[in-house]
Structure formats: C-alpha cells, structure tokens
C-alpha cells in the first residue's frame, strides 16, 4: 500500500514530538489505544489559563505511519486554538488532510479520541465537569 505524500512527510518529519509535565494543572493528557491493537497515542495540551487557548501541544505515538501522521497533524491544529474550538476537530478532517485510506480511518479516530481525552483531563484537573463524548465505532 502506498502512503500519501503528507503521511510520509509527517512520518519523516513529525511535528511536536515530546512530553509536557503531566502533573501541571495547565496540562491535559490523553492516552488512548492499546498495545494489542498496535496503536497507542499520547497527546498533551498546555492551556494558557488567562486566555483559554492551547499554547503548546505534544505527542508520542506507538503505531503505524498513519497513526504517527494523524497525531502530528492533530498537535499542529491544536496549537493556538481555544479549548472550545479544539473540541470540534473531527476525525474526518484528519482523514481528508492526510488522504487516509479506509483501513487507516481508525488512526484518525484515535487522534480525535486523544484530543478529547486530553481536554477532559485538563477540565477535570481544573474543576470543570467532564464532557460527554460520543463513541465512534469503527470496527
């Protein structure tokens, strides 16, 4: 199977690989996936408390090239967005951006789950109620 140029580019030059301090109140961490499925994604956001915007985002991913590219794209999009905007990122936007084939759609779902999970972690840390998240069933 051939990979799209964009997947290859993100795989070869991933953006925002790294770790933020998960103990910090300003940082939300989402860890999704499972080793037995062959994908584990950890996505972190650092929120500017004054403005409510995401000033930094980092990821680490165990998975195929499409999973790495999906997380890389997600962190790029998160930076500078408000929390409210970030929650609207849809997995199909990632599918479109990276031209993911049907068998790789689960990678984009994982990235969306990671974003939402990170936002919820941040909300809980700051005394806000958890958002109800709709389940996306892909397989």
């Amino acid at each position: 199977m051939a990979y799209s140029e964009k997947v290859l580019d993100h795989y070869n030059n991933p953006k925002n690989v790294g770790t933020l301090d998960k103990e910090s109140k300003a940082v939300g961490t989402g860890l999704v996936g499972a080793p037995e499925c062959g994908d584990v994604m950890r996505l972190q956001i650092e929120v500017d408390e004054a403005t409510g915007t995401i000033k930094d985002a980092k990821f680490k991913t165990f998975g195929c090239g499409s999973a790495i590219a999906s997380s890389s794209v997600a962190t790029e999009w998160l930076k500078g967005k408000s929390i409210d905007d970030a929650i609207t990122i849809d997995n199909m936007d990632i599918v479109e951006e990276l031209s993911l084939p049907p068998v790789k759609i689960h990678c984009s779902v994982l990235a969306e789950d990671a974003i939402k999970s990170a936002i919820n972690d941040y909300r809980v840390k700051n005394g806000l109620p958890e958002l109800e998240l709709e389940e996306k069933i892909v397989h």
Partner: protein, 404 residues
C-alpha cells in the same frame, strides 16, 4: 550499492538468470504440448519435462515417477490433504496438524472439517518446535494423516521430520509436509525423512512462479490421492491440465542448482544472517523469535519492543524490502498468528521484522540494513509513549488500556 535491497526471500526469490536462460527456448521454438504424442514438438516438450522431473526428484531423493507437477505449493497442499481425505475416507477421517502451518494447509483443513473430517490443531512450544509426545498422544484409530510443515515461513524453525515420521509409521498414519521453505535450502530426503506426501514450489528456490510439485510416495506405502481437478488425466491421473513446460523446465534447473550449490548457498546466507542478527540483537530490548539452532540458514525474525512493525517498515522500505509479522497493512489489525502461537505478547508480536536472505544477498546490503533498522528503531522509540513508560519503570501490563 543498488537500492532498494531485497530481504524478503521467504515471500519469493528472484529467478536465477541461469534458470531463465534454460526456460526461454520453451516459450518460442520448443513450445509443444508435452501431451502431444504424434509430432516432434510434443516429443521435445515431453523430453524436457521428463528431464526436469529427474532434476526435481534428485533434489529430494525421490523417484521421478513420484513427482506430480502443480501450479505451486498451495495447490500441492490442497491436492495432498483433500486427495488423501477422499482416497482414505474408508480408513478414517482424522487429521493432525499444527497452529503455525501456512494458510494453504490451515484453510484446507477448515474445509475438510466442514466436509465432516476431524482436525486436531497442535500448539507449538515457545521456540516454535512441536512437542512429539503431544503429537503421538493426538493420534487416534481414525487418524489418516499428519500434516506438519518442514520449516516455518516466518521464523524459519525446522521440525524434526525423522522423529515425526517414526511416530507416524508406528501408528500407520501418513505424513504430509509443506516443505516450501526447506526444499533447496537444507538437505531434504523423502526416504531418510520418511515423508509420504510433500508440497513445494519453484519460486522460493530461485525458480519461476506458478509451478510447483507434490511428491507422492509410490512404495512403502504406495500412496494415492484423489484428483481435485477433472480433465485429461495428466500426471498419473492425479493432476489434469496441460503441463507448464517452460515453468517445469525452469523448476528443474532451479532444483539442480540448489542441489549442487546448497552447501555454498547455506554457508553464504548463514554467515550474513548471523552478522545481521548479531548486530541487531545489540539493540536494547530486541528479541529473537523461533529456535536459535534448529532453523533455516537464511532466516531471522526479530522483535523490537515498543516499536510497531508497520511503522518500522515505513521507515525502512524505501531502501529495504522486508516483511513484518504485523499484518496491519491488511484490513485486519491482528498481528502474526504464528508469533501469537509461540506465546508472544501483543507487544512483541506487533513489533517483529522477518529477514529472508538469498544466494544473491551481499555483505554491504546487510551492513546498510543494520544501520537503517537501528536508526529507525531508535527514532521510533523516541516517539513511542510505551518506550517512555518502560524507561520510567512503569509496568505496561498494569495499565488499563482504553480498548478501541
């Protein structure tokens, strides 16, 4: 050095130029049908097929009359198992095989089960070896055939065929073997090994694709299989269909070359394989899959923990053609069933690379492969959350993963 480098020789091998050279005249000038009995075109083709049959038989210590040409090992496996099931239905309907067989054997067994046969699928040990006591214990008065691969295609583990055939003989059971990966690479002798039916193929031993053979024993015991295709009654009535003369000629030549050059090929591939393996095993948290000694000289299967196989291949496959135990590229996200059958955890089963060397592999290609694999493993570990947790001393088994 020319790129890309091919290290996936368990999937298929390049045709040896000497094989191609022998085949060419049989496409154009000597194009006759080997079954045409009334003219020289037919005679020439028949003669060429007879000669190839001798070359193939010589490689496995068989009589030429025991060689049934097929389209490949998948057909050979099907013909052997379904043919035995039909031919020996009066004797019994029980088959014994292993969970790490090739799909051509496993899926054929599934069909036999649907048709009323009983099949026992034996699990193998952690190193891929079959426990002979378990094998013997599985035999019942209804057992007609044991189907055990000679060598495994993913990990290269070689089964003790002599010991297995001794058990089969003791109980009057036929022994069938898918020997695709072994024939041409290590000494295989159907009489010394006591094999009754054996499927193998040309394209794994520097021959062309689309041609293979089923060995069917003619003496002690005389084995028969019911044909699975109806037609002109070629190949002693066991496999109808006009013979693939150029393919068979090439197969014959490939067998001859393997017979004459086996020692040299094995010395060459095992030396390079050992170098590759020694270097790659220096990487932290690298694990060798399969039996270290009882295995093919040209195969190595290594898992790199906390790195995902498909992601790893993506970093490598621009330069090096390799295969991963992880079947993530297909629609299923299941890792290799062979590695799972060895009892590997999902983390290791998802993280494996299979290296298959050939007589054409060169040392500088191995050096390049080592460098690129090492570089990619280290790069991916830097972005693996599992590696980070492992380094922090977190036991990954204690984490409750959000199944997705």
């Amino acid at each position: 050095m020319e790129l890309p480098i091919y290290l996936d020789n368990n999937a298929t091998t390049p045709c040896d130029p000497r094989v191609v050279e022998t085949m060419v005249p049989f496409f154009t000038s000597n194009f006759g049908n080997a079954a045409s009995r009334n003219h020289s075109f037919g005679w020439t083709a028949e003669e060429a097929v007879d000669y190839a049959r001798e070359q193939v038989a010589a490689l496995i210590g068989a009589n030429p009359k025991e060689i049934i040409f097929t389209s490949g090992a998948t057909e050979g496996d099907n013909l052997a198992l379904k043919g035995v099931a039909e031919m020996y239905a009066a004797k019994g309907n029980h088959f014994i095989t292993t969970t790490v067989e090739h799909k051509a054997v496993l899926d054929t067994c599934k069909v036999l089960e649907k048709e009323g046969c009983d099949v026992t699928y034996l699990e193998v040990e952690r190193d891929g070896m079959l426990d002979l006591a378990k094998l013997e214990a599985a035999i019942t008065p209804k057992t007609v055939c044991i189907a055990v691969m000679y060598a495994n295609n993913e990990i290269g583990t070689v089964n003790p065929m002599k010991e297995i055939s001794a058990i089969a003989k003791k109980h009057g059971v036929l022994l069938m073997s898918d020997a695709v990966q072994a024939v041409g690479k290590i000494p295989v002798d159907v009489n010394e090994d006591g094999i009754d039916l054996m499927a193998f193929t040309a394209h794994k031993m520097y021959g062309p694709k689309g041609v293979g053979a089923l060995y069917v024993r003619r003496k002690n015991p005389r084995v028969k299989v019911t044909a699975q295709m109806d037609g002109g009654g070629h190949e002693r009535g066991m496999r109808s269909g006009t013979l693939n003369v150029p393919g068979i000629v090439g197969f014959g030549k490939a067998c001859e070359l393997c017979r004459l050059e086996m020692e040299q090929d094995a010395a060459h591939t095992s030396k390079l394989r050992d170098k590759l393996e020694t270097e790659l095993m220096k990487i932290e948290e690298a694990y060798l899959n399969g039996h270290k000694e009882n295995r093919l000289p040209h195969v190595s299967n290594i898992s790199f923990k906390h790195v995902e196989g498909e992601g790893l291949l993506m970093g490598i496959n621009k330069d090096i053609a390799l295969s991963s135990g992880s079947a993530c590229t297909s629609a299923s996200l299941e890792p290799s069933y062979v590695l799972k059958a060895l009892g590997l955890g999902d983390d290791l089963a998802h993280s494996s690379l299979r290296f298959g060397l050939s007589r054409f592999t060169k040392e500088d290609q191995i050096d390049h492969a080592v460098e690129l694999v090492r570089k990619t493993v280290l790069k991916l570990r830097d972005m693996s959350p599992l590696w980070e947790m492992y380094k922090e001393g977190i036991d990954l088994d204690t984490i409750e993963w959000a199944e997705h």
